[in-house]
Amino acid sequence: MSFFNDLRKVLGQNIRDYGMFIALFIITSIFSIATDGLFISSRNISNLLNQAGYIAVLAVGMTLIIIIRHIDLSVGFLAGFLGAVAAIAMVSWNLPVYAAIPLVLILGIIAGLITAFPVAQLGIPSFVASLAGWLIYRGALLLVTLKTGTIIIPDDTFNAIGNGNIPDIPGITILPEVHKLTLLLGLIAIILYIQNDISARNKKQTYNFEVLPMNIFVLKLIFASVLMGLVTWILAGYNGLSWTVVVVLIVVGIYHFIMSQTVLGRHVYAIGGNPEAAQLSGINVKKITYMVFGSMGMLSALSGILFASRLQSATTTAGTLFELDSIAAAYIGGVSAAGGVGNVLGSLIGALVYISLTSGMNLMGIDISSQYIVRGAVLALAVIFDVATRRSAR
């Protein structure tokens, strides 16, 4: 009995952390049943993740922005504009793809710093500063695509980012329909995860701190491993891991590490929690504001690259509503509008929930008008859940 009591206690304490996973699980189940398993098919999941990519990277950056009590509305059209710049760099300036991508990422950082300038230096509300950016980048996007209209990108390497998959290990004949390298990577990830968790637990014990009871710890490991294994298996069933997913995983991994483990991450949370106290604690609020907006600009550029690559072209409307989609994803993922609360993994899940809704409803043939209404309702429900659980935690 004590096992179930422990389990209930642990789940109860961490309901906020698991809430989004549960929501994602429920949504996945509903759509899978409603579409006779079509939703959960390897092909659809693979597609869905590729669609989620450009929103997910924006949501990651937006998470940091909202944590420090700001907002950035310019990211959508900035992504569209920089995607177009990447296309022009390759098509008109004949830059190789390996030069075009870093160039665009650097331009993104600069654009982010420009947005940050009036915010950090003059105290202008970021809503206004970034709304100006929204207009400016929208104009800039129309301007650079004025003569040509849609710019077709002929570069295969560039287009592979949004459409291609990682290569398979050649010469293995077992499991012919399955992507072996994906399986291998998934297996490595599971092993690393287990190893990491065990060593963290051991370290805690050397400090004589309280740890999860052994049986629950094992259950958690098994549960997470099975989940990771399942996702790996689904992905391996259809061409394997896509480059988009690889990019998103790297971005999320880096940002999650920074936010949860480093001094820099702590400073970001501190500024969100109480900017005056952070300042008096010797934290350079201005510098971190610049860094967070700079990172947002870079991720906007990355989002623009992913999107242009997926369409294999730069269009005049690229980036439309990305900013609001990514803000919605961050809120669904548990970021607090009051600042100081939220995490990158949550926002990734938020983005997946958001895109799953679109994908699932498309498969069910629900028309676009109802889709918007459902998405709005889910956003509202997510925020209500978040506020309610936070209140009860007090």
Binding site: K203, Y207, V263, Y269, A270, R394
Partner: protein
Amino acid sequence: MSTPILEMKNITKEFPGVKALNNVSFRVAEGEIHCLVGENGAGKSTLMKVLSGVYPHGGYEGDILFGGAVQKFRGISDSEKAGISIIYQELALVPEMAVYENIFLGHEITNGFRVDWNETIKRADKMLKTVRLDVNPAVKVKELGVGKQQLVEIAKALSKDVKLLILDEPTAALNEGDSENLLNLLRDLKNHGVTCVLISHKLKEVIEIADTVTVLRDGKTVCTLDAKKGEVSEAVLIKNMVGREIDSIFPKREHKRSQEVVLEIKDWTAYNPALGRQILKKVNINVKKGEIVGFAGLMGSGRTELALSLFGNPDGYQINGEMYVNGKRRQFGHPQEAIAAGVAYVTEDRKGDGLILIQDVKQNITLANLREISRRGVVNNNAEVKVANEYKGSLNIKTPTVEQKVINLSGGNQQKVSVAKWLFVKPDLLILDEPTRGIDVGAKFEIYTIMTRLVQEGMSIIMISSELPEVLGMSDRVYIVASGRIAGELPIEEATQEKIMHLATN
């Protein structure tokens, strides 16, 4: 006198895991000034929240009788309708609105659908006369000082035909003059038939004004004392509040005379561009190793501004003058640099700019010195818990775990977290700005003990305080600040309350 206007019978209020109120009875006679005292966390605020309906009927056990009838308040509007008004420590005024708008906010005077501004202003003027506040009712609230804002709050309460006025630590943020004013006003209101409940930590004013005192401790009523029968004295109150007698609240300590100067400033002048005026004028001070230097003065005399100007100048004053820290000429452009040079500043406003309330105890303690527990920018979470637990033990921070959010701690324990945070940067000079504001007697004593230990270990302390007994009880030397100048310097042997007040007000 004997008819009770309010009777709270056997009130019990539980929160998950804590019994905040345990069978509390509270009886207020009509027309009296009744003081409610107790340490932080004793249950005073909870009791008042039960009374005002913030915790609605059904969420607690027991009965509330007001004006002879059993009341079941479901919200503040119910209790206000019955004639109960509470003025909280944090004022509930809208700074950008005029005084008259604030007074009638929420119960506007209307004819039909339109607000009758002429009548509003007329009635507001009358209310301001009642509270003896001489300001133009059209002035914006933000332009008034805290003392005057307090009076506007009271005017607002009176405008609602209040029968029972509850004030939660109204004088905590006031200087002596404003406090005296307020107490006089309460006496005045009493003569006009308004019953007052006053929650206060300042025992002197409790003794001065109370007809009856009720003491709460750990969620229980300890006793109710009648001032007319001479039952109220400081010693009795303290004994009942803490459950033990404190013969002297200030720990004994020898006044050391070191010649090693830790901090010296010369001709220190500061201009605040936001206010457009000079805030510090030709200030010369020094602080020696292992000494507590008290800074006394009235509210707004420039003591906090002086501290901030030393601590990396976060508000961007234009500063002239020379500063020497440990003998080296220094100029700090950011608190970061001050911290690195061994200066720490514990703010007077721990909730506003001291602590991050939504974060836990350990994160608050380590925030200013994360470097110490990290390697190559990566924080060692286990080392953090260890450090936090050490301070939890050495400063006696009462919290179940260091993972507890600071917002859930009592004021005294929040203050200890605030102090712990700055001790962790291991400073040579610790600036404490109103270190015991709004905390109870027991916690005060603990803070004083900590200060004593620190100076014995060789730290130097600047203590800014508006409480003269504290300045006299703790300092080795006192500077008196008035209008941005050093109005005087007194060694502790020569300092008296009268001398200090004389210098501070001239």
